[in-house]
Symmetry: D4
Subunit: 133 residues, 8 copies
């Protein structure tokens, strides 16, 4: 169990702040904490994600490895709620939803989304919550 009082902090590049706001807040249901000229800060499922406006932004071909981020939910119900949101609001899927490592202890459900700036977001739920690390 992690300390509920701290926050993980992740900074990512985005090509447009309004577009990022639309994706993360209006679609994905995160909360906008602060808006500056060059970035927005988000309460992203209880942690902090900062979207930095990146001048000369250029995204290569999308690949899941080695860079992506997201949330591992302990409860299946939270993963299902996320999937329902993804479907109802037509969020762009990069991969899944699908199971991985079937019949192994590390078995989990995963879905990967892509934001408008080609950042990949993975949400997971493990059969055995001890495997979330």
């Amino acid at each position: 169990m992690r300390d509920p009082n701290n926050a993980f902090h992740l900074a990512i590049p985005v090509r447009d702040l309004d577009e990022a706001l639309e994706f993360y807040v209006s679609k994905l249901g995160c909360h906008l904490a602060r808006r500056y000229d060059d970035r927005i800060t988000l309460d992203f499922f209880g942690d902090q994600v900062v979207c930095h406006l990146s001048e000369g932004y250029e995204s290569g071909p999308l690949e899941l490895y080695p860079r992506h981020f997201g949330v591992t939910f302990k409860e299946r119900r939270d993963f299902d709620d996320l999937l329902y949101l993804v479907n109802q609001r037509d969020l762009p899927l990069f991969r899944g939803p699908e199971p991985r490592f079937k019949d192994q202890v590390e078995e989990h459900l995963t879905v990967v989304l892509q934001d408008p700036s080609a950042n990949l977001l993975e949400f997971k739920h493990y059969r055995d919550p001890r495997m979330m690390y």
Copy 2:
């Protein structure tokens, strides 16, 4: 407050797994959860960081924006403990420790480390914990 049962999940590239293990576990004090041929998974201050071995790894010049990650500690004592560890174990500093946004509500202490694969890690403590988002 975030949910203590979930975990933030971040995947990053590293050029060498042993080197990453040395940095994240032996130096930074994270816990090794799993080791595969192509990656190690870490309990990183209660969240999950996965270090993926990246073939043909090439790092450009180090810049703090737009990509970095880390932890925002609610308690000053936890930030100071991290600084003490950084000093005693000679972890490579990229920036700070230093205050930012002095005399503003967003005022915070920050220190930025760099891992051997040129990933930047920022640890923060805000004067007003409401600003950690």
Copy 3:
């Protein structure tokens, strides 16, 4: 102690949504959860405040009673953080900061702010936390 999983829910009138967003998010540091044409919903110190756009809005003379809302902080440090924010960001004070019920068990610190739509917000800290009800 209240249940951390639930949220108090308060709906209030505002004359302009952008103005409300500026006050509650950019100034007071609340988080924007959702924006509709006729309202914005806020994560207000962990509870929900909904600002409804009120056509033909007209505010009478400001009086603290019988209507106002806010947060009672258990810890003095949280009240002081709020005061610091109020000062640094020049939020409009309606009353205080000041002590009330001096030398009684109900003694508390209070500060009352006014939002641009003449809603009054009271923040409190009691000497004896049992008195926060």
Copy 4:
């Protein structure tokens, strides 16, 4: 998740304190914390509601917007318990119980009660608890 140690604080007008006590404590099951000549303070589902006696009280036609308050329950069971209480004790319904935003992510169950002084109380339960803000 909100901080269980703090309390939301709401002050509302009532035309008669005994009548308010009867409604909020004997009917709705809130707890009486303090009674003064001009107000009563309540532990209202873990937060604080203060009923101020309002001289010359006059209520206009009842409208849900823009002013009402209540609780959003994370667990369905808590919402159902509230409904059961409302039915068994014949609390006056203003609207519902009914679903809103059907087939949208914001879908929730809602019931609106009215107290004897024409204050409206809304209790909610969201399909996806992330939408409670």
Copy 5:
């Protein structure tokens, strides 16, 4: 640590319900949960105390043993808050405040109050919180 979701339940005799209400709610700061013709139920520091009207009530000479009840506070600050309330509101002391078992591991501060029906209430704070059992 005890389970925060349960409640200890204690039923005690009182000779007069209004008098008990005055003592437990108006003076001691407990919350009134329910009132019936023959009893009142209280939120007593988070647990439940029920005061039953006892016809033909007759109290013998007051003795601390073997019957009394109260709360052991883990934090000194909570004990001091209670003492302050006792002094400011002139609650009737039966014994103390005083230390007991000085220089032993079981050392604690204690104060014993008496309610109008001759029930004795003891509040304690131990030097070593492991000794509260």
Copy 6:
């Protein structure tokens, strides 16, 4: 919700300490914290019960009112576990198990045990946990 760090404290008379130990620890499953010549102290479901040896102990006819004590369980499963223990270990029943206030909001399950010194213990589970006060 009550504070998990504090403990309710109840002192009761018993006619024999070994007999009390047998009942409370070996049968009811409480934990023995301390034993003195004139009393034993118990971790009683997370709160403290002290059994004082009462010289010249004499018990009148057993009546549930006005004196008894016990635990109200939020979860039905905990009440059922207690009932199972009562049956398997043949603890002496004074009343119940039975429902009370059927079809009212205060509806609850109750069972009353008697210890060898004629103290009555009531365990309860409410349909609506808000009614446990």
Copy 7:
């Protein structure tokens, strides 16, 4: 309930550190905290187990009593997850899985594993969680 901030600490002998690492981390899913020349320290289900390299290690015939250690899970689901891991990864069973004390209050499920250095690990789940002590 135990304090989530502390850790139980157990030191045990092992004949080979790599072998112990393989068993505890790669198989049992514990996390490696630190590695020294003569020991490894583990985050063992939230507590600390230290494996000390024991020169001249010699193990006698395996017996469950009087020495073994492990975890008692409150929730059945956690016990079942452990069993699934044991089966999928072929961990060596010493005894069970099996029920013990059938039809008694102390009834529980148990499974005993043996590590490569002949230490025995028992995992349990009680029908009545009060019996876990």
Copy 8:
């Protein structure tokens, strides 16, 4: 942080159950959960220690490695409370109290006690709580 609902479980040999009870309960302040003919079970600082009567018990020379057990306290105050108890009740010291790994990140305070059956108990407090694993 560990799960407060589970318990670590450790079984150890003792040569005499009354002697063990005297040491663990009367001296060290643990709680007796259950007593059988061949063992006693203890609530040991929130975890479970079972003392098994070992026929033909024979203890070799006392050595700290590789076998000992105890508790690592996050808060210094809890370690100091334990030391105070050790001094006031004259518990037999095997080593310390003393600091270890001075000026390293792993620096901690430690004290080692021995029970009457030659089991060694180590209590620790780390300068940096992340090092408790």
